[in-house]
């Protein structure tokens, strides 16, 4: 995968053959590392990710205020969440923001990615600036935009013709718009990179053939480029969805879930319940719901992208 940029050349056939797994026998296992090599990392990861994951499931059936010991309460947390209007609203808002993110970022990053894969003159310089948002922490990005969009001292105060009274954080529609915009600003460069790599890997022969047939640039884009980007599109969208489900800092810093609970997405509601209202049981239940959603999506990622088949990045460039 790391050779994505340089792997535009089609993989050599014979190498592919030699990578196919022969049946395990004593001859092929000589000089090969045992699973003990993977054990330290696996144990460390299990302790800090898998064990807490199991605990979150257990805690979701408990009542815990962080001070007295956790107490088993059955499905209380869950039944309360099902009836909780804020929870239902938060699910709806999470979905809305996620969908907005995908709808805004996908066309933008495909266009930018395809463009950046070409041979433009100032591309090197431009892409340095392009990708800066990628490097900034979600915290820095959110703090920056919070300052830039400040009703009194920010851009809206200067451009009232565009922003009206300028308080973008005071209304649900504009607050959600800001959140979607800021996520797009931050993550489009990342998805652009994915598409740039994929667009570079499209065999030039296809374009040459289309050129001979007299297909114009736009026909080439719709009939060659887009279909060739299909797998990357799926991977990128799934990453956007997982990212959307777990947006947190942006909401914490830009809107604090407000006005009211109008931008309280599920991840923020989880934080609010657990670490502000000290209701860790309910917080765990929300967290578990998030895990389930993002696991289902990631299982799709693994299937679709073929990571689980342990293939080399140099193989199967199509």
């Amino acid at each position: 995968m790391t050779t994505q940029i340089t792997s535009a050349r089609p993989a050599a056939g014979p190498r592919k053959e030699s990578r196919r797994r022969p049946p395990a026998s004593s001859a092929t296992t000589v000089g090969r590392p045992g699973f003990a090599w993977a054990l330290p990392a696996a144990l460390f990861f299990a302790l800090f990710a898998i064990v807490p994951l199991i605990m979150v499931a257990v805690l979701s059936f408990m009542s815990w205020d962080g001070i007295s010991p956790p107490e088993f309460v059955g499905t209380d947390n869950w039944s309360r969440l099902v009836d909780d209007p804020v929870m239902l609203k938060s699910i709806w808002l999470t979905l809305l923001l996620t969908v907005l993110g995908v709808v805004l970022q996908t066309p933008l990053s495909i266009l930018l990615g395809v463009w950046a894969a070409g041979h433009q003159r100032n591309r090197a310089v431009l892409s340095v600036i392009y990708f800066i948002p990628l490097l900034l922490s979600a915290t820095a990005v959110s703090v920056l935009w919070r300052a830039l969009l400040d009703p009194n001292f920010g851009i809206p105060a200067d451009a009232t013709w565009l922003f009206g009274d300028g308080n973008l954080f005071g209304e649900q529609a504009t607050a959600i718009g800001v959140l979607a915009f800021v996520s797009t600003w931050q993550f489009t460069p990342f998805h652009t990179l994915i598409y740039q790599g994929a667009a570079r890997a499209i065999p030039p022969v296809l374009y040459q053939a289309a050129e001979i047939d007299g297909a114009g640039r736009y026909r080439q884009f719709f009939h060659i480029t887009l279909p060739q980007l299909r797998t990357s599109m799926i991977t990128s969208m799934i990453l956007m969805i997982v990212g959307g489900l777990t947006t947190f800092e942006t909401v914490l810093i830009l809107t604090q879930g407000g006005p009211g609970t109008d931008t309280t997405i599920s991840a923020y509601y989880m934080y609010d319940k657990a670490f502000k209202s000290f209701d860790y049981g309910t917080g765990s239940a929300i967290a578990l719901a998030l895990v389930v959603a993002s696991t289902i999506i990631s299982l799709i990622v693994v299937r679709v992208s073929g990571y689980d088949k342990m293939r080399s990045s140099a193989e199967g460039v199509s």
Partner: protein, 272 residues
């Protein structure tokens, strides 16, 4: 075949450039302006005064300490990742065992676990271990959450080492250990630098673990410092933006020196 330039795409990318460049300009300009100049003339105007007070102000409100903490966290996370991931990736790529493939799947699934999902039990575990409000309590989970992506990136790089080299070494009777140190590690230097940059970025930009697992000023990291600065001095925008710029400097330096490694690593996320 010489192609004519794609004007439409060029125009689109120019718009994006503005969308990224303008905020960055405002950010840098505001940082160098006085608070009064910024408040009176608005964010987009050209500065009519120059000052470095915004940076020194950030240091006065504790950013020096936060930098040091973040540096410690980042260095330790990189250390843990470098210690654990190369053997893991080596086993993933070279081991024929079923157990290794199960472990690999575990890490792939781990890619999907968001930090928010485990933050409540993490808070419990870290408190029980007596590591609450201790940098070690931030370092351990942050490093753990760097592992899946690093394993993926590095095993991808290691897979590009030609099998003939292993065979040649096996012929000489080399042990897996010797192959690891004399063949795998030297040949996957590119992948190693990618995971270093990637983990550094994760650790430097981390927010949720420090937010929940630390409390006092002496364990605060840069991102938390920014967040607190905003809540406390929300009105001093140039000062706040000065702190934002400071928080970016190390990452931008890394980017300038390791752009290729970083971009390749992030591109790898998309897979095929």
């Amino acid at each position: 075949m010489r192609r004519r330039p794609n004007y439409l795409a060029g125009a689109g990318s120019f718009v994006w450039l503005l969308l990224v460049g303008l905020p960055l300009y405002v950010l840098l300009a505001a940082t160098l302006r006085t608070r009064q100049d910024y408040a009176e003339n608005g964010p987009v105007s050209l500065p009519d005064s120059f000052t470095l007070d915004n940076f020194t102000g950030a240091f006065d409100s504790g950013f020096g300490r936060y930098f040091l903490n973040t540096l410690v966290v980042t260095a330790c996370v990189i250390g843990i990742v470098l210690l654990l991931v190369p053997p893991l990736a080596y086993a993933i790529v070279r081991s024929r065992g079923r157990a290794t493939s199960v472990i690999f799947r575990l890490f792939l699934l781990g890619l999907a676990i968001p930090a928010q999902a485990v933050i409540v039990p993490m808070f419990y575990l870290i408190s029980e271990a007596g590591l609450y409000d201790n940098l070690l309590g931030v370092i351990l989970p942050t490093a753990a959450f760097c592992l899946p992506m690093s394993a993926l990136i590095l095993s991808g790089a290691m897979r590009d080492i030609s099998p003939e080299l292993y065979e040649a070494m096996a012929m000489d009777g080399a042990s897996p250990r010797r192959m690891f140190f004399q063949l795998v590690v030297p040949l996957s230097r590119g992948g190693l630098s990618t995971i270093v940059v990637f983990s550094a970025l994760q650790a430097w930009n981390g927010f949720l673990f420090p937010l929940v697992l630390t409390q006092s000023d002496s364990t605060k990291v840069v991102t938390l410092g920014l967040y607190n600065f905003q809540t406390a001095h929300g009105i001093d925008i140039p000062g706040l933006l000065g702190a934002v710029v400071l928080s970016m400097v190390p990452i931008l330096l890394v980017y300038l020196f390791a752009r290729r490694a970083l971009v390749q690593g992030l591109m790898g996320v998309g897979g095929k």
